[in-house]
Amino acid sequence: MKPFKKTSTVITAFILVFAIVLAACGNNNENTPASASSSNEPSPSVAASTEPSPSASSEPAESSGATALDDALAGKYKGTKVSMFGPFTDVDQVKFEEAIKAFEDTTGIDIQYEGSKEFEATISIRVDGGSAPDIADFPQPGLLNTFVKSGKVIDVASFMDAEKLKANYNQSWLDMATMDGPNGKLMAGIWARSSVKSLVWYPKKAFAEAGYTVPQTWDELLALTEQIAKDGDPAWAIGIESGAATGWAATDWIEDIMLRTTSPENYDKWVKGELPFTDDIVKNAVKKMSDIWLNKDYVYGGTKSIVTTAFGDAPKVMFDNPPKAWLHRQASFITSFFPQNLKSGEDYDWFYLPPIDPQYGNPVLVAGDIYAMFNDRPEVRAVMEFFTTGESIKTWIQSGGVIAPMNDAKPEWYTSDVERRMAELAQKATTLRFDGSDLMPGAVGAGTFWKGMTDYVSGTVDLDGALKEIQAGWK
């Protein structure tokens, strides 16, 4: 009898544990649609918050013609709190908090920003766990898209003045903020910051001393590369190592070249997955990149070192004396990796990555942070409206490190010429396109695209094999 009893005890226990696990998982799935539907209507999600604010107050405010921002500036929401969650930390966080201080003082709204290096993973846990922040800062619209699809994001067009938005943003930005929700298209958020990607950095002083000139066309760029190689240096500093994200720097190159070798429509199709990676158009873009990357005389450390050099360390060799490399294509943020004693505009500067095919004009690749709203309360609306103004990042612009997507951010706010020219570049662009890999679904944009490019550059697969590998991520 005894052994039987023991077995039955074990079986009972096992069933119980299994039931606990099942309950834990099942619970999750059951509740998702419920909370999804609730956030579509404005009022129920207000109830979920712990704030004592009256939910009805938003309606009369709208009908009287005053926006939530006006109400906030009039001190109507004094003492309320708005929680915010985003991926930037450290110095960026300090600059952000400095920039919103005046607004907080005037309105009495306390914006509680929380930054996390694990934003991408944490935001999903928080939204699923029912503790979504009021506002979240998404550097990747692709990620935001998944929340929009499940109906958890508030449509900002429901309370914002469309005319004002049109006046303050380039239409491309507004289009990029429009996403497919469960009940049709909605405006998923507002663009608060941008960075320009089509930049080639160079050590300005040494560059001038060596007698080089900034190339205006792709052919001139290649000629300059060859000239530098003849003079004894590899021209390009390239590194794509970035831990688990190794390869992303290569995807930026492909996107930039795609914009220069094919039409914006094809680029959009490519980003949506309608134009496969195996197509000749994409293949041609990768070949253009390979002209530089796979030539061992053109890359510092040779092609092999590209995948093992950290993207942040790569440009540092440009500032050795004499420079060991001369050109580095990277987004505007890279200056934070430059040695600290360098003067922007004197020791380093950038030029626009020249166009390849003149018929596609001067396209510019950008990235940016979009603020999305998860809880609909009047003070959150007010804060969101505030973020559509250039004023909301004024001191951040002045302190450097950010480009405003808003039109009312004045050029004179930029304290360095280097950044002012970036803002102008983005405003004058004939085509403005967002970083494609950030728009693609995670399996491709943050998966096979990175991996495939890394494999190709390291030489483990050939071009066709790599493109097939990347395309496989779409399935």
């Binding site: 834990a24 998982c25 509680q112 944490t122 360390d313």
Partner: protein
């Protein structure tokens, strides 16, 4: 005589093997320690082991080649032709010296001889940045530049202590009670419940995160110390209970029976007999639990978050590196600061740990 000799020899072998294993375990930590005192630019260029005297090629002379030398043709140096690739990685000349480019653009070549050298550039900047916080330049609306000081590790250090100590004491207290009950008390479903506890050992804690977070949101425990104490206690309990059970159940039965005869209640037996006897195992599970809580990132990330008032050390350190990891060199110093507390706990409790192990064996 021979036997004693053999024993001594085997002891030496054991000691040598142990010393070797210790060395292997310590080398990465030591490397980290050396790196934490080196400037970031140096870390990028040379390894930490170059701080020791070592043999390296030292430049003795520089040769200037004609400016118009074509790098894609064989290059003539001291009457002998070398290829560019050879000069890039360095090549041995006929007279035993070593030839390597100093500046390809300037067409200068270093002539090097092998010699002793060591790397002596050290700095305390990394620790300064970690302990007192970094400096940020902020331009104000009126165009004036002001310097803002970021926060150091002190606040996060205190927060981690606030999280760790209760999160170690709570589960171990409960586990010791439970272990006593499982081992010595008779009550219905005792075995079933114990097997459930054992089985919970294999359930990954990640499974519970979102459900627990939902409950916390409903209860308002999110982002509070109480919430994370409970979470850590819950996740640590199965192992602690099992660990304490295996020790307490091995205590001699007669001890409790005689205490019971003398009229001791269960609570008296527990406080007067079990607790003093179980000190070594309590100390060892405390070390485990404390280390786990101290180094934890995931549980804190989900249940407390990054608000400066509650942020723990592991998250603060991750933040210090900057949004894009540009200040990675601070990691070395920060890692050492965060190691201080676990080391102190380990050495503080290690006495009990060893005494417990010996206590059993000597009496035999």
């Amino acid at each position: 005589m021979r036997r004693r000799k053999g024993r001594a020899r085997s002891k030496t072998v054991v000691n040598v093997v142990l010393a070797f294993i210790c060395l292997i375990w310590l080398i990465p930590t030591f490397g980290l320690f050396v790196s934490s005192f080196r400037p970031a630019t140096e870390i990028l260029k040379t390894g930490w082991w170059t701080v020791f005297p070592h043999k390296e090629n030292v430049t003795k002379d520089t040769i200037q080649l004609p400016k118009e030398t074509d790098l894609r043709q064989p290059i003539e140096v001291k009457g002998k032709a070398y290829s560019d690739a050879e000069l890039k990685s360095g090549v041995k000349a006929s007279d035993g010296s070593f030839l390597i480019w100093e500046n390809r653009r300037g067409r200068t070549i270093n002539v090097q001889q092998s010699g002793w050298t060591m790397n002596t550039s050290f700095t305390t900047e990394n620790y300064k940045g970690v302990l007192t916080g970094k400096q940020y330049q902020i331009t104000d609306t009126d165009g004036s530049v002001k310097t803002k000081k970021g926060s150091g590790l002190s606040r996060a250090f205190l927060n981690t202590v606030t999280v760790s100590i209760p999160a170690t004491i709570i589960p171990i207290l409960i586990a010791t009670f439970a272990a006593y009950a499982f081992a010595w008390l008779k009550f219905p479903l005792r075995k079933t419940m114990f097997v459930i506890v054992i089985m919970l050992l294999v359930v990954p804690l990640q499974v519970a995160m979102i459900p627990v977070l939902r409950d916390y949101t409903a209860l308002g425990l999110n982002g509070t110390f109480l919430g994370v104490w409970i979470a850590h206690a819950g996740f640590g309990l199965p192992l602690a209970t099992y660990f304490m059970y295996s020790y307490i159940s091995q205590l001699p039965k007669d001890l409790f029976e005689s205490a019971f005869m003398d009229g001791a209640s269960n609570f008296t037996i527990f406080t007067k007999l079990i607790l003093p006897l179980a000190v070594p195992s309590i100390a060892s599970i405390s070390i485990f639990q404390f280390l786990w809580v101290w180094n934890d990132y995931l549980v804190s990330l989900v249940f407390i978050g990054n608000q400066p008032g509650v942020q723990v050390l592991s998250m603060k350190i991750a933040d210090m590196v900057g949004t894009r990891g540009n200040d990675w060199h601070l990691l070395t110093a920060a890692a050492f600061v965060s190691m201080l507390m676990p080391l102190a706990v380990f050495f503080g409790l290690q006495k009990y740990f060893v005494r417990g192990l010996l206590g059993g064996s000597v009496k035999g």
